[in-house]
């Protein structure tokens, strides 16, 4: 397949691996922030191809996994309201909240639907004028512009029955919090390609300037990842720390200003609750005054107090402090058929990836 096969070429991979071996002098730990990277790394067996001293750690970049219980519980409570349709992205269906999941609620007869694009929410709202439709909106910077556009359109088209339960997150503040906590032993970051296509390099500059760590914005094909790793190791060996771009065919230094502007039009930055990481300043969004009527977070309903399984290590796994193999629940009671924590649900969740490929 054009533009894909070129990035999965065995001979080229061998060449880059040789370069990595030649360049790498000391043991390093690199964090792939994004779940899509984690999947690709396992899927192509990249860990096993790297020299012994180059270790990869999985980070918090799975939007489903970092959605806190209280948001899921709120979505569940909303779904139980009369004449209500909940729409959301596929993986959210199976994520366990405190005592239920959207999938279980659907089996109970609630109207919960999966959408593949943010604008589908508008279509569903138009088709059901007699019902309230709530879009349980999750995602990072890659998805947020599309959600912002859906909100702008809802207002323009005066759709009165569509609301948004906002659980979106911003990646750079989470990385800031991780670095600040000092629990993490990481020598460099493999930064997400598609989030960065929106953000560019500027929001990440603190990684190099304040924490003196190198980072490379990297694509998702195996050759992209290998090259990103090589670029990181080169920086480390040369004692440099800058935000570099490997994924130049998609990511521009300035990102996508139009997409960022759409987010700005609808939202202002606000603290947000992350599963496992707690509340992080500026890591989420709240509605601007003029869009507040569309916020489903203001509905007056009762939500159960959030509860988590005491032994679930998703929090530590998301921070890169522990691996799923250290969790007592992993494979024993927690597996894709019966996920205890969100990292086992999402196809990009670290636990799910370990379960499938390890």
């Amino acid at each position: 397949m054009k533009f894909i096969d070129e990035f999965r070429d065995k001979e080229l991979a061998k060449g880059i691996l040789k370069n990595i071996e030649k360049t790498s002098k000391r043991p390093v730990q690199l964090m792939e922030v994004c779940g899509t990277h984690t999947v690709s790394i396992f899927r192509y067996g990249i860990r096993g191809l790297l020299p012994e001293q180059v270790k990869l750690l999985s980070g918090p970049g799975c939007p489903v996994c970092v959605t806190p219980n209280q948001d899921i519980d709120l979505a569940i409570a909303l779904s139980r309201q009369k004449d209500m349709i909940i729409v959301t992205f596929g993986d959210m269906m199976r994520v366990p909240g405190s005592t239920s999941s959207l999938q279980k609620e659907k089996a109970e007869g609630r109207d919960i639907r999966i959408i593949y694009s943010s604008l589908e929410a508008l279509t569903i709202a138009r088709e059901h004028p007699d019902k309230r439709v709530v879009f349980f909106a999750i995602g990072f910077e890659t998805t947020s512009p599309t959600i912002a556009v859906a909100i702008l359109r809802t207002k323009e088209e005066e759709i009165k029955n569509l609301f948004f339960l906002n659980s979106q997150k911003r990646i750079p503040p989470a990385l800031y919090a991780l670095l600040q906590s000092k629990k993490l032993n990481v020598d460099g970051f493999i930064l997400p390609g598609h989030v960065s296509a929106i953000l560019g390099t500027r929001p990440y500059q603190f990684i190099a300037k304040e924490f003196d760590k190198p980072a490379v914005i990297t694509g998702f094909e195996p050759l992209d990842i290998l090259q990103g790793i090589w670029m990181l190791i080169k920086q480390i060996e040369e004692n440099r720390a800058v935000i570099d771009i490997q994924y130049g065919r998609i990511v521009h230094e300035n990102g996508n200003p139009l997409a960022m502007q759409k987010i700005e039009e609808v939202f202002v930055h606000d603290h947000a609750q992350w599963r496992g990481l707690g509340s992080i300043p500026d890591s989420g969004y709240r509605f601007r005054e003029s869009f507040k009527t569309l916020d489903a977070g203001h509905f007056d309903i009762e939500v159960e107090p959030p509860r988590e399984h005491p032994e679930c290590l998703c929090g530590e796994v998301l921070q890169g402090i522990k691996t799923p193999l250290e969790c007592r629940l992993f494979r024993v009671v927690c597996h894709p058929e019966n996920p205890i924590g969100p990292c086992m649900v999402s196809i990009e969740g670290t636990c799910h990836t370990y379960f499938k490929f390890y």
Partner: protein
């Protein structure tokens, strides 16, 4: 028939039931075994072991590019018989129909059952029709059971794989499940995809003719290639090593998988088989498979190993390795 929709009375056992059978099923499916319409069919006994299997079909949508529930119901059961080396002979056909179902759709489905049965050289010898009230079923469900004659001297089983054996696959994987999925979810990127649904008995016959030592055959339906290989590795207590670059996946199927984040190795097929044979027979077997219309894209995709017993490993495109586990969690319901 005067009615154009199935009524509850069509399942009553009375006049309308008879009309349904006499006017709709018999004209197309009739044969000397079915014709007496007794409570059971009398079939001629053969010497030697008999293969017997059953399967239910609940696919949604009922009609899809490359087939429909009727074709699927014949091919699925024919293929199950074929995989143990049996010659499919007789099928039963049971329909559970939802009240209000269009008679014209039943006619279409019966025609396709007939066509597939003729292609597979099997006869429908007994059957049943039930009608349930509106809402109690989704249109139409079909069950078929099948009887086949096991060829003397063959003992195909998932328990037979031995280290050194080669693994052959009869063509592109993933087409069936992706077709059903794109139809159902209303994706606008169908492309040239259609279900691979087909009866494999003729292909199997030719394969067994040149390579009587084939150890095992399986059709990778639900759970896909990865799950079927895991079952074989586990039953035979051997390891399996598969070369990712050798696995045939159609360009359009790869494209959809890339877009949706699906892995073709876990997608259901309805007209493909995996065969495991001794290494010295592999090339000849491959040639025969490639010369058959249902096997033109066959490939040797891997081998059986002594290492990592009960596990399937994949040698990835870029030279890495990973474990290929069974399908966990449901991919998508009602694909067959």
């Amino acid at each position: 028939m005067r009615e154009d929709k199935i009524l509850l009375a069509h399942g009553s056992g009375g006049k309308l039931s008879h009309d349904l059978i006499e006017q709709l099923f018999l004209p197309k499916l009739s044969n000397p075994f079915l014709q007496p319409l007794d409570d059971s069919a009398r079939i001629t006994n053969q010497n030697g072991p008999i293969a017997f299997t059953t399967d239910s079909y609940v696919v949604s949508p009922l009609f899809f590019p490359g087939g429909d529930i009727g074709k699927l119901a014949v091919c699925g059961t024919v293929n199950d018989l074929s995989m143990i080396g049996a010659i499919p002979a007789f099928l039963s056909l049971s329909l559970i129909i939802e009240e209000g179902f269009p008679i014209s759709d039943i006619q279409r489905i019966v025609s396709s059952i007939l066509e597939s049965a003729e292609e597979a050289k099997v006869q429908i010898v007994t059957g049943d029709t039930k009608v349930v009230e509106h809402g109690a079923a989704d249109g139409l469900f079909i069950n078929t059971s099948g009887i086949g004659w096991v060829r003397s001297g063959t003992h195909l089983s998932g328990m037979n794989a031995k280290p050194g054996d080669r693994i052959l696959l009869s063509g592109f994987i993933g087409d069936h499940e992706l077709t059903i999925l794109s139809r159902r979810e209303g994706f606008k990127f169908q492309g040239d995809l259609k279900s691979d649904c087909a009866p494999l008995n003729d292909l199997v016959e030719r394969m067994l003719h040149v390579s009587p030592n084939i150890r095992c055959m399986r059709d990778p339906t639900r759970g896909g290639l990865a799950t079927t290989l895991n079952e074989i590795a586990s039953k035979s207590n051997v390891g399996i090593m598969v070369e990712e670059e050798k696995i045939p996946v159609r360009e359009s199927a790869r494209g959809i998988c890339e877009l949706l984040g699906l892995d073709p190795l876990y997608l259901a097929n309805e007209g493909k088989l995996i065969a495991i044979c001794p290494p010295e027979e592999a090339d000849r077997l491959l040639e025969v498979m490639r010369n058959h219309p249902l096997g033109t894209d066959s490939a040797i995709i891997g081998r059986v190993t002594e290492e990592h017993p009960k596990k399937v490993a994949l040698h990835t495109l870029i030279g890495g390795h990973r474990i290929l586990d069974m399908l966990t969690g449901s991919q998508y319901p009602r694909i067959c």
